[in-house]
């Protein structure tokens, strides 16, 4: 659409600008302020310069949390993207079942995050949970509160349960918007299903797939409530991801400076990676 240049449009944007600035800039300034100072007691602050940042970047605990976070996000993307795409391809295009499938699939997305944690907690209890009892009955020794591998398995399974539907819904929406003419042309050419997928559906889905990757990357990188309810970051600190690490520091209360430095580095990582995705995506769109 060709838009007219008019600076009066700012008046329309002003309420949004004021509200978001109040909510975003004030807290971010607080965080920056803390990150370069040292606090004694509640209200005494001393200049600390870049010390917290240097300490953080050398801290092996931070490296460990970051490493776990990257492995978790990578695993989640590797499972949820292909699975979500496959399920979307299995969805009916027309008929009464479409609404039923969509509503059922959207359900996990609307469950409060602490309830997701509780739900999987109850599900995975080794003595009375369906999953825990089931696995143990199959002869697999499974206890997610003791075994790191079992904890990881449960956390990833929970995330797959929780978020694969988002990928499905995005891909499904993309698939539905492909005009019928493409399929008819493919039929005339005698294309096999694989060829239809590879040369028609996949290219048309590029846009929604990029967005799905972007969203799943951002949200899995911020995961907190579900994991804290399910495993509390344990056993030990084997499922302690970045947000959990940060909250332990921040709510501990005495480490305002380090916690603030942590916040800034954390936010910057997400921002830089998302910005990369975003520009790549927009470049694709421009072509």
């Amino acid at each position: 659409m060709n838009k007219t240049y008019n600076n009066k449009a700012w008046w329309f944007v002003l309420p949004v600008f004021v509200m978001v600035a109040f909510n975003a800039l004030v807290p971010l300034m607080t965080v920056v302020n803390y990150s370069i100072q040292e606090s004694f007691a509640a209200n005494e602050f001393f200049w600390a310069g870049a010390r917290w940042f240097q300490e953080l970047l050398r801290n092996p605990d931070f490296h460990a949390s970051l490493g776990r976070q990257i492995v978790f996000t990578g695993a989640v993307l590797l499972i949820e993207m292909p699975l979500g795409l496959a399920i979307a391809l299995c969805m009916p295009r027309t008929g009464p079942w479409v609404s039923v499938c969509l509503v059922l699939m959207a359900l996990p997305l609307l469950v409060p995050w602490n309830v997701v944690g509780s739900m999987w907690n109850i599900m995975a209890l080794p003595d009375i949970g369906l999953l825990g009892k089931g696995l143990n009955a199959l002869g697999i020794n499974y206890n997610y509160t003791r075994q790191p591998a079992a904890a990881w398995f449960t956390v990833i399974l929970m995330d797959v349960w929780h978020w694969t539907s988002l990928v499905v819904l995005l891909c499904y929406a993309g698939l539905v918007s492909i005009p019928d003419a493409y399929y008819q042309a493919a039929k005339i050419d005698g294309a096999r299903p694989w060829a239809v997928f590879r040369f028609i559906q996949l290219p048309k889905l590029k846009h929604v797939l990029t967005i799905a990757i972007l969203l799943r990357f951002m949200d899995s990188f911020m995961i907190y409530t579900e994991v804290i309810v399910l495993t509390g970051g344990g056993p030990g600190s084997t499922t302690k991801f970045l947000s959990i690490d940060l909250m332990q520091k921040a709510l501990g209360g005495f480490d305002l400076g380090p916690a603030a430095a942590f916040s800034i580095v954390y936010f910057l990582i997400i921002l830089v990676l998302s910005w990369l995705f975003y520009t790549l995506m927009m470049r694709e769109e421009a072509n």
């Binding site: 009375i128 907190y224 409530t225 997400i270």
Partner: protein
């Protein structure tokens, strides 16, 4: 064709199993739960639900959650509507930067904002009110609403605006009488996503409240930790949190596919 149905059915069963298990637990007595594994309740009881509906700390927590979600959705949509219109119709100084800056807030981890938000809302005397949670959630929901609405509005041809002006409509009248009804599907989808985020987000909701405006998550945490291990109560509370989501998703079921088609969530 049949293979597809099998895959789809298996996936939906996988989605429903934990929900079934939660339902199952919520109808059991504490004795039965601790007594051992059972796939369905042998002594069917509604005690857990009765507790929730009679104890004000429980149902009060539900009402608190619903209050801040409603306030948040209304504010987010109300301020996002004109802004999305401006982004879809005009170029202005700094528009692209502003749009990207708004989106960066969608990427902000709530954990980063917990501590400064507590300070901020203490300072403005809103701590422990639904307003604190509602306003803090607008940080994520206003950008989301602007993004979704801008997508829908860009699909409406500009000729609509021009024709209305020729017909003698003033801008506010055009916006309310013609434009808003035209993009009502978009408003529904945007409200759905605002509701969705505000209802499921728990970290800020919990930390910005203490007693008076305690959300459902705080009530549930209390059950899990202090008063022993009342799994039945916890499960019943969990089941009840599913209902608002199910109702909302039912209302927007015909627009969901369209909402996701723009890829703006």
């Amino acid at each position: 064709m049949r293979k597809r149905h099998v895959v789809l059915t298996l996936y939906i069963i996988f989605l429903m199993l934990p929900i079934y298990w939660l339902l199952n637990m919520s109808f059991k007595t504490t004795n039965e739960i601790l007594g051992g594994f059972s796939a369905f309740p042998r002594e069917f009881t509604l005690d857990s639900y009765r507790t929730i509906f009679t104890d004000p700390t429980w149902y009060g927590a539900y009402l608190n959650s619903i209050t801040y979600v409603a306030i948040n959705t209304v504010i987010s949509i109300a301020v996002a509507l004109p802004a999305a219109y401006a982004f879809s119709r005009y170029r202005f100084l700094g528009d692209k930067h502003l749009f990207f800056w708004l989106l960066t807030n969608r990427m902000a981890p709530p954990a980063v904002f917990v501590l400064p938000f507590v300070n901020l809302y203490y300072a403005v005397d809103l701590f422990d009110t639904p307003w604190a949670v509602a306003l803090s959630h607008t940080l994520f929901n206003i950008p989301r609403a602007v993004w979704i609405l801008e997508g829908f509005m860009s699909g409406v041809p500009k000729e609509l605006d021009e024709t209305a002006y020729v017909d003698g409509y003033s801008f506010p009248r055009f916006f309310i009488r013609i434009f808003i009804p035209t993009i009502s599907a978009g408003i529904g989808v945007a409200a759905f996503f605002c509701f969705m985020f505000s209802w499921v987000e728990m970290l800020l909701a919990k930390n910005l409240t203490s007693v008076a405006a305690k959300p459902i998550v705080a009530a549930m945490t209390k059950t899990a930790s202090t008063s022993g291990y009342e799994l039945g109560l916890l499960a019943a509370a969990g089941v009840l949190t599913l209902i608002p989501g199910a109702v909302v998703v039912y209302f927007v079921r015909n627009y969901i596919a369209k909402g996701f088609a723009l890829g703006r969530v």
